[in-house]
Symmetry: C2
């Protein structure tokens, strides 16, 4: 990779992405294991090119990390305490890591730039987890889907950012009918119900739930799902585009 | 005023404030007449000191413009297209205005800084309009309360920012019970209802509305409002702290 040109980007402003997926009845978040040291986890993120909007930057960062275009994403909040300067101990690890990396890519000026105070704009994304092929960024060892209840301590305020994204998702799930972005194209009513239960962390009685969702008139009913026991097979649904 | 030191602030990142007030049954916004040219209006805003959080910056900017501490304010969205560089014609006016101002305060470097591309973080504030003493910023002639339905075309995307703030206010008014910040300390039920009608731009039948608001158990009933006709005098209420 060539030189990291700090002039290409807006300084002190980053985008962090809370990428939500859904599997095994659990709401999951895609997080990165950083290579700067032991046990360092963070949200995937990046910087904003001078030539792109903040929404375009978020889409680009998500495409780079998931291989997916046209991801559902929503900006939910900016985070910006003066203590959002990378904490001193972590800052030293990052500076050492960048120094040992490749001075043709990160010179002293770039290292100062990367380790300065950042305000971050938070976006959350909803993806069909089965379609994602996570791709590591620089200074990351691997990416991992983790249940939202089992997240490790992450760098900076990233746990707070996930909590705020989860709150925004709960507020928007009903109103904007965005939950279907977390499911495969075809799904049963039970799967929708279980998704809602995972997001809200409470149970919904099936009869009421089905009545409410069907009443929204946004689902198209397909054939029955083949299970072997034809008489008890559930219907498959698809979200009307 | 001394030199404007660009090192004191985060570059390319501003805060714009949608200050909502309520009077004569109308939701109003405080806007600034700029001194750079004819018919130039904008939202009050400012920059973020390296030493303060973005929330602190918003509070400081609001205090500087309204004279009020402890204003209810809420961050609602960041705005950041690459075309949020000050539009070329307006940019020229700003550059000319800054050049003619005082070169001890704005040198060439500061002029470039001020007229570069900015991402803005939007905050809305709810104030008791009667308590506000609007104070102009540099390059402003005066501030003015304007009904949200009668706003002039403003610079940049400021009309869009007001629309987004209004949407966020509607979403939060019920849920967070923040509307009382727009009223004087004591108010009648009719005044609360008229406030809600102004924010949502629709009518609420009095009986249902009163029942709903009283059911929230957040209001303290005081004496009757003296009107001369004692038997028909409405009760006064106060928000429970």
């Amino acid at each position: 990779m060539g030189k990291f040109n700090i002039e290409d980007y807006i300084a002190q402003l980053s985008i962090d992405c809370v990428i939500f997926g859904y599997k095994n009845k659990e709401l999951k978040v895609l997080i990165s294991k950083l290579s700067y040291g032991e046990n360092l986890w963070s949200l995937p993120g990046g910087y904003i090119l001078q030539t792109e909007s903040i929404d375009e930057a978020a889409s680009r960062i998500l495409r780079e990390r998931t291989g997916l275009d046209n991801i559902y994403l929503e900006q939910f909040r900016a985070f910006g305490g003066p203590d959002r300067i990378i904490g001193s101990e972590f800052r030293d690890l990052v500076r050492a890591g960048l120094r040992n990396f490749d001075s043709n890519r990160f010179d002293d000026e770039a290292i100062d730039w990367v380790t300065s105070r950042f305000v971050c704009i938070g976006y959350y994304a909803l993806v069909d987890l089965n379609k994602v092929e996570p791709r590591i960024g620089e200074f990351e060892e691997f990416l991992k889907w983790v249940s939202i209840d089992e997240l490790p301590n992450m760098t900076h305020d990233h746990n707070k950012i996930v909590a705020a994204a989860h709150k925004a998702l709960r507020q928007n799930l009903d109103e904007k009918l965005i939950g279907f972005n977390l499911l495969p194209e075809e799904f049963t009513m039970r799967e929708v119900k279980e998704l809602y239960e995972a997001v809200y962390d409470r149970e919904f009685p099936m009869n009421n739930f089905q009545k409410k969702i069907l009443g929204l008139n946004v689902l198209e009913r397909l054939g029955k799902k083949f299970t072997g026991a034809q008489n008890r097979a559930p219907y498959l649904y698809r979200f009307k585009k």
